[in-house]
């Protein structure tokens, strides 16, 4: 009889799904183990980049490039966290304006240099220039694109210096806001921004799924183009051959977030593991290979593996966190 009661009892509980999730603990873990360390790394390396440009440009461009790549790597660890301090004053866009579908970045850079714009020499003024000329992507043009590296303009180092300073300021501001209250608000979830731990968890879940989607659809989808018309020139950060690396780094960051949010769900982690293995084996740093059929098939397989991972997240993690997958709610149109 007891047995039957137990079975009945568990059936009654079943629709509420598995174990109760300790939402405040999830948020605490994500903030302390994922978000804060990510922004600390970004702030430290961005400050180092700013210093490197000041001391080594133009004499030792290799040192500048090294610092640039390290700082850009750090950005990839947080690029999916598009809420709160990163969105204040458009900071994230000012760090990372991509994709640049209309070619604003090289145009704006060229006019800043041609006019010897006062903003080049003034960090305060520089915050008012178009965001297409701020952050890591325009800096890549100055360091790697022949338009700016062959016969460099006399103000190239000044422009890079102000740009790096701006990157460092923005990164520091995001970290400061996280440390000075936003992290606490998210964890406590007793305020106007987060009224309950569920809302904070939902925000983190959204960051995870939109991050994966962006990598599959934009980081990979843009250079893949269509079968008839591949677009290798649209690959993200192809000039510095960082395209493949960005997919790897963003997957690693999302994997950590997924693992914290799901408390190490093995099925989801296997999805990440598989996608990461594919990208590590790829050997196509700037996705130039999408122009060939074989190269395209490999990138397509990677895209499929990421999409599948996102499906696993929706299937296993969403319900566990009480996030409904409404037919219309998910449509976004």
């Amino acid at each position: 009889m007891w047995k039957y009661c137990l079975i009945l009892y568990s059936l009654l509980l079943a629709p509420a799904y598995a174990q109760e999730v300790d939402m405040p603990k999830l948020v605490t873990n994500v903030v302390n183990e994922h978000i804060l360390p990510g922004y600390e790394r970004l702030a430290t390396r961005s400050a180092a980049l700013s210093k490197a440009v000041e001391t080594s440009c133009p004499d030792n461009l290799d040192a500048v490039k090294l610092a640039y790549n390290e700082a850009f790597d750090a950005w990839m660890g947080v690029s999916h966290l598009r809420f709160g301090p990163s969105e204040d004053n458009n900071r994230a866009f000012a760090l990372a304006f991509w994709p640049d579908t209309r070619g604003f970045t090289p145009k704006t850079l060229a006019s800043l240099l041609t006019d010897n714009d006062p903003a080049i020499h003034d960090a305060e003024k520089f915050t008012t220039v178009s965001i297409a000329a701020r952050g890591f992507y325009p800096m890549e043009f100055l360091l790697y694109d022949t338009q700016f590296t062959e016969e460099p303009a006399p103000q190239r180092c000044d422009l890079m210096a102000v740009m790096a300073k701006d990157i460092a300021n923005n990164s520091a501001a995001i970290l400061r806001d996280w440390q000075a209250g936003y992290g606490e608000m998210m964890i406590k979830a007793d305020n106007d921004i987060y009224r309950a731990p569920e809302e904070a968890v939902r925000q983190l879940y959204t960051a995870l799924t939109t991050g994966l989607q962006f990598t599959a659809q934009t980081r990979l989808g843009r250079p893949m183009g269509s079968f008839e018309k591949p677009r290798p020139n649209r690959a993200e950060a192809r000039r510095s051959e960082r395209s493949q690396r960005h997919v790897l780094l963003s997957l690693q960051a999302n994997r950590q977030l997924a693992s914290l949010l799901s408390e190490n769900d093995e099925d989801i982690d296997r999805g990440f593991e598989r996608a990461i293995r594919i990208v590590e084996d790829l050997d196509d740093p700037a996705f130039a290979g999408v122009g060939s059929i074989q190269g395209r098939i490999r990138v397509e397989a990677l895209q499929g593996a990421i999409t599948l991972t996102n499906d696993l997240v929706a299937e296993y993690l969403g319900p566990k966190l009480g996030i409904s997958a409404g037919f219309n709610a998910l449509d976004g149109d």
Partner: protein
């Protein structure tokens, strides 16, 4: 006053009446697309009582449909970035024509007929040039494409024929997308939505832009009052915790007015409104948010928030004979007894179909 039937007979005698009308398709009050339990999609005719009248299979998920003003004919649009639409005979489900977008274009999910139903205007994305286009199709010649004009913005979404029947109003959502990247938004930091009024030849007569602080509010969906008032619903592309008003009213030559619920209610929308319905005679504006599972209602005179109706995954909204009808992804078709949100349901029917984004009133 002659009844409708003798009026129609009279028209027949004069040789003025089209041979078939919506009555021949069972006089549906609404159209809506839906997903069926087996995962397939169909377009349904729905009665005033919320029952299905006809069902026509669709090859994939739809978005909105356009109902021909006279003939029992519907044009169902594939979901963005679909490059086809189907003109369907609602009497028998036959496909009268398949509309293929020209190369480099895809449909955005909405279309509007001219007053006499001879022309169909469709919102399209000229994606390699990141510009919006309105395609023109001749409905009397098998939906042959007969022209196009600029939408005067990026990412046009909904469009409607104004009550004067001489202008179109276009919701240029401002968001650039490219099929290579699916539905990913490519220009959020620089997006600039607008509401554009054009003549039927495409000449811009008025454009409404919102303040720069709202440039991430994508203007998506429209509903018109008989007096020419345009209600527009937006979707916020910034941090959802900083979402501004999601609804506006505009009348030609005037400033746009924004409507917003008290903070507690407003945040429930999650920066996303799916459909909007306006009835200026009752001074009622209703807007649905599937993410929040609510329908918000406002007094159009005062802008006052009248209340929220809670309905899980609600999206489709229409006002017919001054009654507000809503549909949801949970299969609900529901007519409220009282418009002011007392939540008395006069009619509530549950179907096994997941109703898709929009409920299109007929007639």
């Amino acid at each position: 006053m002659p009844d409708r039937r003798s009026f129609i007979t009279g028209l027949f005698a004069l040789g003025l009446c089209p041979s078939v009308t919506w009555a021949d398709a069972g006089s549906p009050a609404f159209l809506s697309a839906a997903r069926k339990p087996d995962g397939s999609y169909a377009l349904f005719g729905i009665s005033e009582q919320g029952r299905t009248i006809f069902e026509i299979a669709l090859p994939g998920r739809g978005h909105a449909a356009a109902a021909h003003p006279r003939r029992p004919e519907a044009v169902a649009f594939a979901r963005r970035p679909g490059n086809f639409a189907m003109a369907l005979d609602c009497r028998n489900g036959e496909t009268k024509a398949v509309l293929h977008c020209p190369k480099g274009r895809h449909f955005q999910g909405h279309g509007a007929f001219s007053e006499d139903g001879s022309l169909l205007y469709t919102a399209e994305n000229d994606y390699d040039h990141a510009r919006g286009v309105i395609g023109i199709w001749n409905a009397d010649q098998g939906y042959k494409r007969v022209g196009e004009f600029a939408s005067h913005g990026v990412g046009p979404h909904d469009l409607k024929l104004m009550p004067d029947k001489k202008h179109l109003v276009i919701a240029n959502g401002g968001i650039e997308t490219h099929p290579d990247s699916g539905r990913e938004k490519l220009n959020i930091p620089t997006m600039k939505p607008n509401l554009a009024y054009v003549t039927l030849d495409g000449a811009l007569v008025e454009m409404v832009e919102l303040p720069q602080a709202m440039h991430k509010s994508s203007i998506r969906h429209l509903s018109l009052g008989a007096d020419g008032t345009v209600a527009f619903a937006m979707q916020w592309q910034g941090d959802i915790n900083n979402a501004p008003a999601m609804l506006g009213l505009h009348k030609r030559g005037e400033e746009a007015r924004l409507l917003e619920a008290p903070d507690n209610e407003q945040r429930v929308l999650q920066g996303y409104v799916g459909s909007v319905a306006l009835d200026m005679e009752q001074k009622l504006l209703a807007a649905s948010s599937p993410r929040g599972g609510v329908v918000h209602q406002f007094d159009t005179d005062t802008g006052e928030f009248l209340g929220a109706i809670h309905e899980e995954d609600v999206c489709g909204l229409a006002i017919r004979d001054h009654k507000l009808v809503r549909t949801s992804g949970m299969g609900i078709v529901c007519l409220s007894e009282d418009m002011a949100g007392t939540q008395m349901d006069k009619m509530r029917v549950t179907h096994r179909y997941q109703w898709d984004n929009h409920l299109i009133p007929i007639g």
